[in-house]
Symmetry: D4
C-alpha cells in the first residue's frame, strides 16, 4: 500500500479539491502527493510550505511552483480567472495577520473565487472599520482575521449582516501567545452567529467560504 | 441610565433580532428585556431559561411563554410560518445532544426558517450516517451537533458539500467533560471547511445559518 | 494568638481600609473581624457575603448591616457623603455584569468617592458606547466591567484617554465559563495602557481607582 | 553505583526486552546502555535516536547500527525472521503519521512479530477505510496511528472487532499542536473498548501488541 | 426520525453489544433505548445510572432492573453463566476505586466473561502487590484501576507479562482532582506496553478486555 | 479478597500510621477501615470526614469519635500527651486557611508532637510576620499555610532558617480558585529551599514534619 | 488598501502615540509603519525589535535609530526633555526583569515623563524593599516588575499608597516558565487595588502610567 | 541604584548563601554578581550556566570556575571538605535525571554536606530499588529525582522513614513533556509526607536538605 494516497474523488463529493498540507512531510512525500494531485486535476495547491521545505524539493517541482513566501502557499499549474460575481471579503486586524489572510486569499483565487483584502482594521482605531463598514456590508461572506484579543470579531459581528468567518491568529505574546485568546474570544463573542476556524487556518476559512458560495450558486 | 438596554436596531443592521439570554439575569431583568423586545418587534425569543428561572418569572409573562424544557428556550408571541424553501438540516451524534439541537431548531423556526432534525447519527455506527448521506447532501447548510470526541464532524465533513456548522456539546465525562474535546476536534478536523461555534451554542449555530441563508436570498 | 487579626493600620499605610472578605469565613469569624473593624474605624465594609452567610450571622449584626444582595456587599455604619469632584465612571457590557459593577460602586461610595454607572454598553451594539463616548472621555478614571469575550475593553481603550481599569467577569458559558477568556482578552488587548484586575474583582477595581484618586488629590 | 543500569531481567518478568530510549542521554550513556543490552541479549533496539545524537555516537557503534531516520529507531544485531502467524496491522491517518507508525513496525519486527502497514487512511476520505475494512477485521490486533482530531479511532472502533490500540500523534497545528486533541479524542471515543497510548508512542503500542500476542500464544 | 436509534447491529460488527449510557438522557429516552436493546438482544446493560435517574424510570422498568448502586450499573435480563476459562483480573489501588472496578466487573460478567477482583493494592504498601504478584502474572489480561498519582500502573507494568489496561479514576484532591494526574501517569509510564482508557471508564476497560479475549478464542 | 486492607505495618516501615482518608468511601468502608486501624494500633485518625459522612456513620463509631468540624478530622482513642521538646510551628496567611492548618495541627498532636499555631499572618500586612519573626526562627520546622497568591511562602522563606513546608490552600476566587496559584507560587518561589505539598494537604505537611522530627530524634 | 495603516489620530483621542510593535512584521512593514509615524508626529518609538530584525532594516533607518538591545526598543527622533515633576518609579524583583523594566522606562522617557529605576528588590531579601520603602511611598505611580512567584507585588501592595501597576515577567522555569505564575499571583494578590498588565508588557505599563499622569495634570 | 544587588546577609538569616542563577542574565551581570558573592563570602556557586553563557564570560572568570557541563553548575573558590556525618542520599529514576541530581549533589558539597548518589532506580524494574532499600532507610534525608510518571516517589515514600524530597524532572514526551506529570504525581502521591520542589530544581532540593540538616545539628 503506498504511503501517500491522494483523495482525487474529494472534489466530486464535497466540491473542494484536496490540497497538499506540507508540514511534517518529507520532500519525496510532498512531490508524490503533488504529482498525484496534478494527475487527477491538472493543478495543485500546496499549503504550509516553508522556505526550508521548498528549498528541499526536487528542482523541477520547485521551479514549477508559483510560491508566495508570506503565506507559505504554492500553486502548481494555472490560476483560473476569477468569476466576476459574489466576491469574498477578507479583513485583518493587524499587519502581522497578513500571512494568514493571504493563505485564505490565494486559496480562494486558486478556486476561481474573487476576493478583496482589507488590511489593518484593528478596532483599537475604530475609525478604520467604520470607514469601510458599508463596503463590507455588501459582501455575502466576510473572513475576519485577527490575533491578540480578537475584538475585531465582535465589533464586526454587530455591524455586518453576511456570513462571518473568524480566523484567530497566533499573533500575540504573554497570555495571547499561540492564538488561544483570539480563538476563545471568537467562540464566546456576544455578537450572534460568528463562526470560527482553527488558529491560523486561512485555508480552512477559504474552503468554508467556498462551501457557502457553492450553496448560493 | 437603565440597567437593561435592548438592541432593537440589531435586526436592521445584521438581520438578526436580539434574543434574551437568561443566564445570570434576575427575573425582573428578564421581564424588562422581554418587554423591550416585544415593544420593538412584537415577539421575543428567550434562551437558557432553566426551569427555576422560569418559575421565578412574573406570572403573566410565564404563562404567555411557549416554553420547551429540553432546549430551555421560550417564545413570546407567534411562531411565523416557515418558508417552504431552503431548509436547514440539524444532525446529532447522540441522544444527549438533543437539547442543544433543539435550541438551534427553535431559533430557526422562530425566524421563519424551516429545519429538519436527524437524531442519533453517531459514527461509531457508521451506517446511521451513510443511510441519510444523500438526503443531507441536498441541504445548503447542515448543523452538526456532537459531544464526546466529535468524530461526526470530520466524517460528515468528508461527505457533504454544503456549509457545515459544527456545534460541540458538553456531553461527555473524564477528559471530555465540558465539551472542550469535541470543540478542539471540530477545530482541528482534517475535513476542509468546517466552521465551529462555542460549546452548546445551538442559538449561535442557528444565527449563522440565518446569516448564510440571508446571503443566499 | 487570635484567629482573626484585623489590619487596622492599613488605612495609614496605603490609604485604604481593610474590608472583610466573607467567603470561607465562619459566622463567628465574620462577626469578630467586623467588630475589630468597627472598633478601629467606626464602620466597616463586607464583601462576598452571600445570602446564606448573611442569614447565619448573629441577629444584631445582621440587622445592623446595610446589605445589597446583587453585589453581596454590606456596610456597617454610615455611608459618607460623596465628594462632589472627580467621580469615577463604571461601564458594564451586559446586564449580568451588574453584580460586579455594583460591588465596585458600593466600595467607592463607602470611601466617599462619587461614582456613575453606565450599564449595558456591549460593543456588539456599538451605538451604545458611541452615544456616551464624550461623557466617558471626561472621567479621569473609568472602570470597565465585562464578561464573555471582553471586546468592550479594547474598543473603549481606543476611544478614552483616562485611566482604564478592566474587570473581567465570570459571565459566559462554554470556553468563556469562569471568566478566563474575558481576563485574557483584557490582558492582551491591542489598545494601549489597559490595566486589569482578577475576575469579578469589583472591590479591587474600586481600590485601584481610590489609589489613583488619592494620588491626584 | 553506575549511572546506567540495564534491566536485563525484564524479558523474563514481562516478556519484553528493555529498549534504549535515547532522548536526554549523552553519547557515552547511550553507548553504555547499548553495550549492556548487547551483553545481556546479543542484540538491542534504540528508540528516539535523532540524527544529531546518532552522529555523536562512537564510530564503531554508529556503523554497527541499522538506522531508520524516519522512525529514529536503530537496531544492533540481527532482525529475527518474523513468525508467519498472527500478524499485527498498523493503520495511519495521514502521511505525517508514518514516523510513529514505523517506530511501532520496527519494534514489532525486532521482536519477531509480523506487521502490515496500511497508510493514509484518514476518514475525511472514508472510502480509504471502507475498502480495507474486511482485511483489517481479520487481524486480532490493530494499531491505529492518527493526529489532528483523531476521528479515525472512532470510525475504526465501530467497524473492527479485534483489540484496538490508538496512538495519537503530535501532527497538527493550532489547538491540535502537540497531539493533545488526538489523545483526548481517543480517550473519549464513543466507540467501545479503544485503548490508548501516550502521544507519538509507537514503541509502547508495539509492546502492548506483543503483550496481547504473548497472551494468545 | 426517532430520537433514539439503538445500534443493534453492533454485536455483529465488533462483537460487543451497545450499552445504554444514561448520563444526559431523560427517563423516557432511557426507557426507549432499553426497550430497543431488549428487543434486539433480549437483555441490556445500563451504565452511569445514578440513584436519582433510576428513581425517575417507569416503575416496571425500574423493578425489572438488577441495579448496583456502587457501580451505577443495571442489568435487564439474565446474567449469563461465566465461562470457566480465561478470566480477567481487576486490581484496585484504593477503596474509592471500587466503583469503577465494579463497573468493569459487571460489564465482563454481563458478557459471560469471568472476572476476579483484587482490591486495595496501592503501592505505598508494596507488600500488597507483591503477595499477589504470581497470581496476577497468570492472567492474560489485567485491568488496573487507580486514582491519585497512579503509581500502581507502573509498578504492575514492570512485574506482569499480560495485557495491561490502566483505568485512571477521578479519586483525589488538589492537583489530582478529576483524575487527570492518574491518567497522565498511566500514559507516561516508563513501564512498556501499558494501555489506557478515559478517566473512570470501567465499562470501556471491560470492552477492551472482551476484544482481546475474543481475539484469543 | 476484602475490599479494605489496612496497612498496619506502615508504622514500622516509615514511622507513620495509616490514617483513614474518608472522601469517596461509604460509611461501611470507613467503619471497616477504622476498625482495622483500632485493632492494629488501638487508635485511629480519620481525615476529610465531612459533616454528612460523619452523620452517616454507625452510631457507636460516630459517638466514639473526637470530631473537629473545621478541619474535618476525627480521632478514635486517646490523644497522646505531647512531648515537651522540638515543637512544630504552623503559620496561616488568612482566616480561611485555618481549616487546613488545623488538619495539620491535629495530625501532629495525634502523633505526640507539640505544635503552635500562628494565625492571620498575611504579608499584605507585613508587620504581622515581622512581630513574630524571631519566635518563628527558633523552630526547626515551620509549616506555612496560605491561599490566594501565596506571597507568605517567599517572605517567610527569606527570613527563617529552619525546614519550611508550604501548604497551598484552595482559598481564593477568579484565577486563584482551587489553589493552583498558591501552589505554583510556592513551587517557583525565589526563596531557596521551600518544600511544598498538594493543595489543602495539612495531613501531608504534618507527616513530613514528623519524618523530619523522627530523623532528628 | 495599504497593508500598514498608522493610527495617527490616536494621540488626539487617547493622549498616547501609536508605537510600532515589530514582532511578526517584515522589514519593509516596519519601515513603512515607522515612516508613517515620523510623518505624523516627527518621531517614533519601536518596541520588540530584536537584534535580527534590526539588522534586516534598511540601512538608513537602522542607523537613524537610537537602539537599546536589552529592552529591544528603538527611538527615531529626539527624546524630549523630561518634565521635572511627578516622576514614575519602576521597581524590579531580579536582574533578569531589567529588560522589561527598561522597556517601560524608555517608553516613559519617550513621552517626556521622568522615571526612576529601583533594581533587584526581590522580597526573599526583604531589607532591599524596606530600605527604599519611604522613597517609593512618595511616588504617585509605581510600576512593579517581577517574574517567578511575584511575591513583590503583594508586599509592595501592602506598603505603598500610590497607583500600583504590576508587570509579571516570563522569568522563571518549571511551573513558572512563561510568566503565568507571576501573572496569576498579581491578579490574586491579597493586597488591595493592584492592577496588572500582560506578561512582559513594559510598554503597556508605561502607557497606563501616562494615562494616570495625564488625568492628574 | 546598581542593577545587581547581592544578598550577602542571607547566610546569616537563613543559613544558606545566595547562589548566582545565570538564566536570563548577561555576561556582565553574571560577572558582577559573582564578584559580589566572592567579596562577601570568598567563594560562589553558579547554577544554570549553560555552555554558551559560560563561553561568553570574561576569560579570567571563566578560567577560574570549576565547571560541570552535565549539571550546568560552576564553583568559584574551594570546595569545603565534607563533614563525615549525616550525609544526604540522592536517588534517580533514569539516566536522563542525572543532570538535575548532579545539581543537587554539587550544591550539597559546596555547602560541606556529604552526599551519595544512587542512579537508575526506576520502579519499572523494582528490584533496583529493593536491593538498596535498607541502605536508603538509614539516611535522615533522601532526595528523589524522577521524570515521566514519577512512580518512584510513591514507592520510595512507602518504604523509607526519613525526610523525602521529590524533585520532578522535565524528562518525558507527550503528556509528560516539561515535567508537569511527574510534579503532579509527587504532589498527589498516596504515600504520606512527601515534599516537593519545582521541576528540575536540584538546587532547591539541596537547600531544603541543608535546612533540615541545620535544624538537626
Amino acid at each position: 500500500m503506498p504511503d501517500v494516497r491522494f483523495d482525487a474523488d474529494r472534489v466530486r463529493r464535497i466540491g473542494l479539491p484536496e490540497a497538499v498540507f506540507c508540514t511534517g512531510k518529507t520532500p519525496i512525500q510532498i512531490a508524490t502527493a503533488t504529482g498525484a494531485a496534478r494527475a487527477a486535476h491538472g493543478r495543485c495547491l500546496l499549503t504550509r510550505l516553508d522556505a526550508a521545505a521548498r528549498a528541499a524539493l526536487p528542482q523541477d517541482l520547485r521551479e514549477a511552483l508559483d510560491y508566495d513566501p508570506l503565506s507559505r502557499t504554492a500553486v502548481l499549474g494555472d490560476m483560473p480567472s476569477a468569476d466576476a460575481t459574489d466576491p469574498v471579503a477578507i479583513v485583518t486586524g493587524g499587519t502581522a495577520d497578513l500571512a494568514v489572510a493571504t493563505e485564505a486569499l490565494r486559496t480562494l483565487r486558486f478556486s476561481g473565487c474573487p476576493a478583496v483584502l482589507y488590511a489593518d482594521v484593528g478596532v483599537a482605531g475604530l475609525w478604520r472599520l467604520m470607514e469601510i463598514r458599508e463596503s463590507l456590508a455588501a459582501f455575502s461572506t466576510v473572513i475576519l482575521v485577527a490575533g491578540m484579543e480578537g475584538a475585531l470579531f465582535t465589533v464586526a459581528g454587530g455591524l455586518l449582516p453576511g456570513l462571518l468567518i473568524a480566523v484567530p491568529t497566533s499573533v500575540g505574546y504573554g497570555v495571547a501567545a499561540g492564538g488561544q485568546v483570539a480563538l476563545n474570544a471568537a467562540l464566546s463573542s456576544c455578537a450572534p452567529g460568528l463562526l470560527v476556524t482553527n488558529i491560523d487556518n486561512g485555508y480552512g476559512a477559504a474552503c468554508a467560504a467556498l462551501r457557502a458560495r457553492g450553496a448560493r450558486s
